[in-house]
């Protein structure tokens, strides 16, 4: 089977990122969109950690930035779900293609 290389991880994160984009484009439910965004965050984080191990292990810069990514993802989820709640209260539904009150 050979040795585990950087390319293995990069291909996996490409797959996850592509699936995240697919979900982002096709989901009608706002929470589904948020879940796809979380998938894409994770794909980027895998890249950072893999690069830390294989390209620049000295300073652990990639792992530090993965911690920042996780923090920002938590903040994004909190604000995003608060907005979803507000939309639900005002529109009685969270289908993103129905929320077009800014269209004129």
């Amino acid at each position: 089977m050979g040795e585990l290389t950087l390319t293995h991880f990069l291909v996996l994160s490409t797959v996850l990122f592509a699936l995240g984009i697919f979900g982002l484009l096709t989901r009608r439910n706002a929470i589904g969109v948020l879940m796809s965004i979380e998938l894409m965050f994770n794909a980027a984080a895998i890249n950072f950690v893999a690069f830390t191990k294989y390209v620049s292990p000295e300073g652990l810069a990639g792992q530090v930035f993965t911690i920042f990514i996780i923090t920002i993802a938590a903040a994004e989820a909190a604000v995003g779900l608060a907005i979803v709640m507000l939309i639900y209260r005002n529109f009685k539904g969270i289908e993103v293609d129905k929320i077009n009150f800014m269209k004129w």
Binding site: L4, H8, G20, G23, L25, T26, P57, Q63, A73, I83
Partner: protein, 166 residues
């Protein structure tokens, strides 16, 4: 052995990510999201980032997905099967995603990455904490302010406006 573990984890992560974006029931999607996050935590251990694996389980599995499940429970009518979950852009989205995937796959495989011979520091978590509070102390403080602002913002956004209702 490591390669075998990688393939198992990658398979689980890929299949459950596919489930997350395609399943009809959004609640099941959230449960598959948990499985994806767990296998990504396994990948972090494989990459020598034990602390990040722990953080992944605590924050993603323990907090973010639970928050999502709460939001689904409060907003989505689970019994109402007639609500469509995907919009009519499925065909175009598939084409775009496939093109993006092939392009970035080609880039990933063709690029000659500058692989380093050095290995990770012996005490990985120790080194991570030291870096976080020495080299990266300013981004660390900024990100904590961002988190605080986001949490206050979330409370203000979702607060009921009492004057408006009465």
């Amino acid at each position: 052995m490591n390669v075998l573990i990688f393939y198992v984890l990658a398979f689980v992560a890929g299949i459950s990510a596919l489930m997350v974006v395609t399943l009809k029931n959004i609640f099941h999607s959230a449960l598959f999201l948990v499985l994806t996050f767990f296998s990504i935590a396994g990948l972090y251990i494989l990459l020598g980032a034990e602390f990040l694996a722990g953080v992944q389980v605590l924050i993603y599995v323990g907090a973010i997905t639970i928050l999502m499940i709460f939001a689904i429970m409060m907003t989505y009518q689970l019994s109402n099967k007639s609500i469509r979950q995907v919009n009519e852009q499925k065909g175009q989205a598939t084409i775009v995603v496939l093109l993006f995937f092939l392009l970035s796959l080609a880039t990933v495989i063709k690029t000659a990455w500058p692989i380093s011979d050095a290995s990770l520091p012996e005490r990985n978590t120790f080194e991570l904490g030291r870096q976080l509070l020495s080299t990266y102390v300013i981004p660390f403080e900024v990100v904590s302010v961002v988190l605080l602002v986001a949490l206050i913002g979330a409370i203000i956004i979702s607060r009921q406006d009492r004057q408006e209702e009465s």
